[in-house]
Amino acid sequence: MSPGWFVALSAVIFCIGVGGVLMRRNPLVVLLCLELMLNGGNLALISFARMHGTGDGQIFALIVMVVAACEVVVGLGLIVAMYRRRLAIDVDSMSELRG
């Protein structure tokens, strides 16, 4: 399989993630769609690593996975804090940063 197929697939996955981030209002689902976007990027990185035959792109993808894990942890912590304060779990109603 040529890397072009994998790159095209990663573009499709990334765009599905973008659409989800824009459409959905539940912050949990927005986080899930962010995961989709990061995974699309990861797939492109790994296919380019295969294309060049070096491991650098794979290291990059590994670091992206670490960053995604951090993002999930902080985002879920925020959602739990929102729930504890009995705020609506809805990104549209979160319009100010003051805690």
Binding site: P3, L9, C15, L87
Partner: protein, 203 residues
């Protein structure tokens, strides 16, 4: 070679179906499960690209640990169904259009780049390509600083999550008398139940 192609198309269909499921399914719990399916299909694609270690990490860390965290939080806050196309603003309505435009743009950008290697099949990978040994050697020699930065980032995120999600003392009392607080908020409609209002109550 034929087997590889069949595997690619099966995994690609699974990945796209999982991604569409995440976006389309209304119940967040099933969205998480769809993402698990998507991640498994993606791990298969990683294997096709000779990234064995990353495929294993994807399954163990992502589909295992991170998704369990998601399931816990969905169970904790109760996955409320939301209408898929609500009365949301212009952004929600133009979202799919924007995503399609982005896909078109990406297709033109990649197709127009005339990267010859995109079309040609890559040669046989070097022995040990993508194995844990190679990844580990790279992480500890050429990419030592990113490796250390990633570990520091994980530490910061763990501390940040504990700080964000811990029980605040003022809120615990409010939790004991939650019913009265809600009643008070109903009785005083002048004060909106925003973040500022909640923190004012806590103080």
């Amino acid at each position: 070679m034929l087997f590889e192609q069949v595997l690619f198309f099966v995994a690609a269909a699974g990945a796209i179906a999982g991604a569409l499921g995440v976006v389309m399914i209304q119940n967040p719990f099933y969205s998480v499960l769809a993402l698990v399916g998507h991640l498994v299909a993606l791990a298969l694609l990683f294997l096709l690209l000779r990234a064995e270690f990353l495929a294993a990490a994807q399954l163990v860390v992502y589909a295992g640990a991170v998704m369990v965290l998601y399931v816990f939080v969905v169970a904790y806050i109760g996955g409320a169904d939301e209408p898929l196309s609500p009365e949301g603003g212009a952004i929600a309505r133009l979202g799919p259009l924007f995503a399609l435009a982005l896909l078109l743009e990406l297709t033109i950008a990649v197709g127009g780049s005339e990267l010859a290697a995109l079309e040609s099949a890559p040669g046989t990978a070097a022995p040990g390509f993508g194995s844990p040994a190679q990844i580990g050697a790279l992480l500890l020699s050429k990419f030592l600083i990113p490796f250390e930065a990633a570990s520091f980032l994980l530490l910061v995120a763990a501390v940040g999550a504990v700080v964000l999600a811990r029980r605040r003392r003022g809120l615990e009392e409010a939790g004991a008398e939650g019913a009265t607080q809600v009643a008070r908020e109903v009785r005083e409609p002048a004060e909106p139940a925003t973040v500022a209002g909640a923190s004012g109550e806590a103080r």
